[in-house]
């Protein structure tokens, strides 16, 4: 088997005396859809924040092996302590649990921001509008629009992001993340607050992204139906520790998982 594109080993994160993550190991192969589940406060979002550079983990290794693209040989890098923008540049883009769009920019501009780290024009380019810059700018607009079409948001192009319906805002976050050309997409509760119809659409969308864009996906989700139907493998966390990992079928029947979610059976008579 090839190197996992993301290999997290013994990831530990302390907030003062509180150990939010305790030696977590997770690996993701190319083109996999992985779900990370667990009760509230299990450390799922902390895990996300650690690997995307918002927090610097106390201990452990986050190893990234970008899949070979355009013939370049892939090499493994340790990305602990990189800034969020550098992590995105490496090819890991994320969405947020509570939507974090740029509310007063248009939908297209939101996606264009995603192109920022793949383009280079600077101050002088902006002022003089030389040919290279104009071309790059047009390319940014075109690619961004194509991404919107793929995600099915093209009819909102020139609307302000804050005026979009809720489900569309969630999808716009995914579109914006895709614009950074990631090989791994990290979705933090993408279905939160969606109605069943929107969730079904999201299910299709995520599968389609994986198949067409060749992007691996790691998602945190509470909607078990979505998790079970989407994911290839599931990791379960509780109290900062990984308590189980396996296929949806294995997880469904794992007593540890059931215990974490429903609590221990207590013997009243004993």
């Amino acid at each position: 088997m090839a190197d996992p594109i993301l290999n997290v080993q013994n990831l530990t994160m302390d907030f003062g005396g509180l150990r939010a993550l305790d030696h977590v190991n997770i690996d993701i192969q190319q083109n996999e859809i992985i779900a990370l589940i667990g009760p509230n406060g299990a450390g799922k979002t902390t895990f996300f924040n650690c690997i995307t550079g918002i927090y610097t983990p106390t201990d452990g290794d986050i190893l990234v092996t970008a899949p070979p693209r355009s013939g370049a040989a892939s090499k493994t890098e340790r990305i602990n302590g990189l800034k969020p923008n550098q992590v995105t540049e490496k090819g890991m883009a994320r969405t947020f649990q509570n939507i974090r769009l740029f509310p007063n920019m248009t939908v297209l501009e939101n996606v264009m921001i995603g192109r920022h780290c793949r383009t280079h024009s600077g101050i002088l380019g902006a002022v003089f509008r030389n040919r290279g810059m104009v071309k790059e700018e047009q390319a940014v607009v075109d690619t961004s629009y194509q991404i919107l079409e793929k995600i099915g948001l093209s009819r909102f192009v020139n609307d302000l992001a804050k005026n979009l319906p809720y489900g569309a805002q969630r999808r716009l976050e995914i579109a914006r993340a895709l614009a950074t050309e990631p090989f791994l997409l990290l979705l933090d509760e993408p279905a939160a607050g969606m109605n069943p119809h929107e969730t079904r659409e999201l299910d299709e969308l995520i599968t389609r992204i994986r198949n067409e864009e060749k992007v691996s996906i790691l998602l945190i989700e509470h909607d078990m139906k979505l998790v079970m139907s989407l994911s290839d493998r599931i990791f379960v966390m509780d109290y900062g520790k990984k308590i189980a990992h396996g296929t949806p079928e294995e997880i469904r029947n794992n007593p540890m998982v059931i215990k974490a979610y429903l609590g221990e059976e207590c013997d009243v008579e004993g």
Binding site: N85, R100, M105, T119, S121, V140, V141, Y145
Partner: protein
């Protein structure tokens, strides 16, 4: 029915006002003749005045709230239709030609006093556009902007005083030094936002002013630097009015240059990054934008314009001292940006002309200037918080994917 309760409320307000102002408006004690004069008629003026004002206030507030979205949309439609008209070539070119004519003819029609006021106003347009980058686009509240203005002015003042270096050499130098100080301020405040940032920048502005005031060997302290030479025009000797006209056209040129550059920056990759930074810092970083670099470029590019405006200021007044660079100036420039509409270039221009020219033409009311100023600010914030001309996001032309 609605109006009845409103009248009642306004009536109570006016009663309350009459009661509050009773000691100062009605009673007057003549201490020499030991007499108390009762001026009951003043009470009526206060009562009727406050009743009308309060009623008008309530009326407009209600209309705004009830019409809420409708009224706002109406205004938005109106302003966007104005912009649409001006975006059409047929109207755009004649309008621009007319504006250009007015600008060119202005100094020859008006006297030198008017031209001088206009030069000052144009200087504030430039400062406003510069601060607009920092506050309006990047969303970094900077209360010490005048520091960069002072840096520019003293760059020219000192270089001219000691080495006799001319205006045109120092102009880019002032801009560069402004940018350098922008970065110097930017580094320590990278982690700050909002109120905290405002306080640190306020402190920075005061530090620069206090250094200039107290470091006598360097800046000649409060007595300032005099006899700074005016800008030269290929060594031609100009008459008094000729000098003013020259200054005026120089300023027009600089403002056009500023508008050109700021407009292009705003619609570029960097401009978008600034706006994204203003909208949501964490998301902005997660989308691959280098926060440090983006903030520093915003500070540096904003300060550049203040530096250049400072050089021009020194050349115009030929005398500078620290009293010209107080917090009042920063507040004034910030008001221009807020009143005009954050991030909107035409808004900033209109607000600068309005705020600088109006006090000059209303000299008769100069005692009430600050009062009026405050009232305008409050009214704007209540009824039109987005500024005189709100920014309209740009639409792009794009190729549809071929299916």
């Amino acid at each position: 029915m609605m109006t009845f309760t409103e009248i009642k409320k306004s009536f109570l307000t006016s009663l309350w006002f009459m009661f509050l102002t009773f000691p100062i408006m009605v009673i007057r004690v003549n201490t020499i003749e030991k007499q108390v004069i009762w001026r009951w008629e003043n009470m009526w003026y206060v009562g009727i005045g406050s009743f009308l004002l309060s009623f008008a206030w309530r009326y407009f507030l209600r209309r705004k709230e009830r019409g809420g979205n409708q009224a706002n949309e109406h205004i938005a439609n109106m302003s966007s239709s104005i912009q649409r008209i001006f975006s059409r070539r047929r109207y755009k070119i004649p309008a621009m030609v007319a504006a250009a004519m007015a600008v060119v003819v202005f100094p020859f029609v008006m006297n030198s006093y008017q031209t001088n006021i206009m030069i000052t106003a144009l200087m504030y347009v430039m400062l406003g556009l510069g601060l607009n980058i920092v506050v309006g686009l990047a969303g970094l509240l900077d209360l010490g902007y005048v520091a960069f203005y002072a840096v520019g002015a003293y760059t020219y003042g000192l270089l001219n005083h000691h080495f006799g270096i001319g205006f045109w050499t120092v102009l880019p130098l002032g801009g560069a030094l402004g940018a350098l100080f922008g970065v110097l301020l930017g580094f320590p405040v990278l982690r700050l936002r909002g109120d905290y940032l405002a306080i640190v920048t306020l402190g920075f502005g005061e530090i620069i002013r206090l250094i200039l005031e107290n470091w006598n060997e360097f800046s000649y302290g409060p007595s300032g630097i005099a006899h700074i030479s005016k800008p030269s025009l290929f060594g031609i000797k100009l008459s008094f009015s000729g000098e003013i006209n020259y200054m005026y056209f120089l300023m027009i040129g600089m403002v056009c240059f500023t508008i050109f550059v700021v407009n292009r920056l705003q619609n570029s990759r960097i401009g978008r990054a600034w706006i994204a930074l203003r909208e949501d810092e964490i998301a902005c970083q997660a989308m691959g934008i280098d926060k440090t670099r983006t903030k520093l470029t915003a500070f540096a590019l904003g300060a550049t314009w203040a530096g250049m405006a400072g050089v021009i200021f020194a050349a115009k007044t030929t005398f500078i001292n620290p009293a010209s660079f107080t917090f009042m100036e920063s507040a004034m420039i910030l008001s221009i940006v807020v009143l005009g509409g954050m991030g909107s270039i035409p808004g900033v221009i209109i607000a600068a002309l309005f705020l600088i020219l109006l006090p000059e033409y209303l000299r008769a009311f100069s005692d009430y200037r600050m009062l009026l100023f405050g009232a305008i600010m409050v009214i704007m914030m209540v009824f039109r918080p987005q500024g005189i001309i709100a920014t309209v996001r740009r639409n792009y032309n794009f190729k549809r994917a071929e299916n």
